[in-house]
Symmetry: C2
Subunit: 438 residues, 2 copies
């Protein structure tokens, strides 16, 4: 249902006038997803009435006026090319100095052949600035913080989110505080602390850390990207959907496979496709959305399999740490989007995750973190079950770099042979017939 | 000295006709850098007469006809946009399916301020496909292998080169063999083996491994990227220079700081600038080229400091493993380019390298491997000494991703504070005055 685009007095499509000053923001407030109560813009995420999650409310007329294929194509080669569709709270150029997003959408013919699929594309977020899709949501949260007058960026995280907050804050010259459990491995500390972020090691459970963060957010007025800035932050995941459509030549795919942690990424990709249709940027086309979870943290897959709406919390135990959210805040909404679109949610074991990582690297030369292994292994499973079909244009999301989870493969891939340094020993170990002579 | 561009009968500049079939390659043979003896194209790297290094010889008329700003701008967003200036042995499109090169050249104002410099740019190769500049040279070597009918890609390496060979071969569907010492750490094995590359663990010294590789190259006819494909491979480093000039708006910088391992990268960046001038792609402009080495492997810096031409081998002992070449094949040529252009070579200690990594991450949000720390620390040293000046347009090469050398920082960056999970404890540990309240 495209919204008619407003036109200037001369009949020019105003959306193509990218140099015109834009004096109003495209965001008008926040609204509770549960009860619809509206709230003013600010650093808060829970409805004051029912405690439901707050979401950004856009001025749809303004968005329709600004969001055109031409304006987007004329934008920067990062996720801020979609500024008209994001909570850009201040008008004017919104740089992302780290170059986040607008990552490759790459055809994967060799992987498709191995899976018995037809047209398969990979969204390759392994090469975002800090190596994961979290750069997207943090980039959007950081701009919101600026606009709201918040000078310090913070989060609770043990991994990708901490890296992204630390990197983006460094480039922006903002202080950053990252709250971590005090037993976090040294390697995970290094990859955030190197950016000069303050690491606060907290002796307590994950719940303890989160409660402390909420208290600090109130006491200090800091911007915790995934707490009080969450309404803005979460919108960043829409850019995955926008990029997929643009990179397919402004077409929607038939089926998308998305990893599920909190469930926000899946629901936001779904929302992105809806918005593209609403604003006339793509033709309407049904997109099936499927979810991928590790078997060791599968609350949404379990609810899907049981045919129920209730997503019951689980205790995570999986090598896919970046998907290990046992009580996913958006699990219900992710499940609903999957069912609405005719997708499925499946889960895969740690061994299948490792096999998925290897399959992706062997066929397409992309080394993904464990979450990428979850997506590829789930894609394989759904292809075998006939849920993902060979006649579909399929996109799989590869959301993080394998260099972040090398430890998950140690002991599982190793040298082919070990030999003394002689040609004779080599020929004996790897005869020419087996060795692929030129 | 621009070469006149050939024109068609109609006077059209043929270089702008990018869709015309190109039936001849731009490479005519190989030539010894020492004695000038010419050899036919093939998989060999040493002069049959004097054992000097062979280099690619281009058909300069053809290069001049093909290499224009327009043709380059119309090319792909990877290093093959410079195909007219590379050993593209087969005509027709030369894809790089992994998306290698054409990485960001990013302004670094905060780092510049810290170093007392003016205009500073960083060439950010941390986001190449396998996380280092080695993807550039391997991409070029792989295309040469294809053209020469070589079906198997190989190398001896313990790090970045192995990763790049394994990744590119996987995407191309070629078998790959990586020869490593048998005591290589598990993490370094994983990052190549995951791509399905055959890892041959060799019990012996680095020299033993290299000798075996030369024998295997002869016996099997495989393409060892940095041995028998070296003349093609090395040309890939020119793309760093091409990109810098194009991304500066087709201008040469005043000063470039390049890390030195074999010395090939520095000499090829120098060559790239010369070629751009020769083919009229940029105006002639003197570029000072300086080299950066770790103090624990500083043969070129030592020769520079001593004012001699002889680069004496050293035994490497440094955290910058990717620069640990004790007997650099192109050390002499690198030294010559530095002296010719009025640059310098300096070296930095392991502590300075770590400080360089942190300084880069803290100011610009880029996490580089140890080699990047060497470049930034050397830049700092040269700026303090007045060798790199505030009135210069400076470019520093950041050639690899910090996720590859996390271990170098373990124990050197850590949590700021450790506290129990209470706001009171937090306030005590980090009072608001110190904590950067919003």
């Amino acid at each position: 249902m495209p919204v008619p685009r407003p036109r200037t007095a001369t009949g020019t499509d105003v959306t193509t006038v990218t140099t015109a000053p834009q004096l109003t923001t495209n965001v008008v407030g926040l609204r509770c997803r549960e009860c619809g109560t509206e709230e003013e813009l600010g650093a808060h995420h829970a409805c004051g009435f029912c405690f439901g999650p707050l979401e950004v409310v856009y001025d749809e007329t303004l968005v329709a006026a600004r969001a055109s294929r031409g304006a987007i194509a004329a934008g920067p080669a990062n996720l801020w090319r979609y500024a008209p569709l994001l909570p850009a709270l201040r008008d004017g150029p919104v740089p992302d100095d780290l170059g986040t997003g607008f990552t490759r959408l790459v055809a994967a013919p060799r992987l498709a052949a191995r899976l018995g699929l037809g047209e398969l594309w990979l969204k390759d977020d392994t090469r975002n600035p800090s190596g994961s899709f979290k750069d997207r949501v943090v980039s959007v949260a950081l701009q919101a913080a600026h606009a709201l007058g918040i000078g310090t960026l913070a989060c609770a995280s043990t991994g990708n989110l901490a890296n992204a907050v630390a990197a983006h804050a460094a480039r922006a010259g903002m202080p950053a505080y990252v709250f971590v459990p005090d037993d976090l491995e040294q390697a995970k500390i290094v990859t955030s602390a190197v950016y000069g972020a303050n690491l606060v090691a907290v002796r307590g459970t994950y719940d303890d850390v989160n409660r402390l963060c909420a208290e600090v957010a109130d006491a200090r007025g800091w911007g915790f990207v995934n707490v009080n800035l969450r309404p803005y932050y979460a919108e960043g995941s829409k850019t995955l959907g926008f990029e997929i459509a643009e990179q397919l030549g402004w077409r929607l795919p038939d089926h998308v496979v998305v990893p599920v942690a909190s469930g926000a990424q899946l629901t936001k990709v779904h929302k992105a496709f809806e918005e593209l249709v609403r604003y006339g940027l793509v033709d309407d086309h049904p997109v099936r959305i499927s979810g991928a979870q590790p078997a060791g943290c599968n609350p949404v897959a379990a609810a899907y399999a049981a045919g129920v709406d209730d997503v019951l919390p689980v205790k995570p135990e999986t090598i896919a740490k970046s998907l290990a959210i046992g009580n996913p805040a958006d699990g219900y909404y992710a499940l609903r989007a999957v069912r609405q679109t005719g997708g499925a949610v499946a889960d895969v074991t740690d061994d299948e995750i490792r096999a998925g990582m290897r399959l992706l690297a062997e066929t397409e030369g992309i080394f993904a973190e464990t979450a990428g292994g979850v997506t590829i292994a789930t894609l394989r499973k759904l292809a075998r079950e006939g849920v993902v079909r060979a006649d579909e244009r399929v996109v799989a999301l590869v959301t993080g770099n394998g260099l972040k989870t090398v430890e998950s493969l140690i002991g599982h891939v190793g040298p082919t042979v070990a030999i003394p340094p002689s040609l004779e020993a080599f020929e004996r170990a790897l005869p020419a017939t087996a060795g692929g002579a030129a």
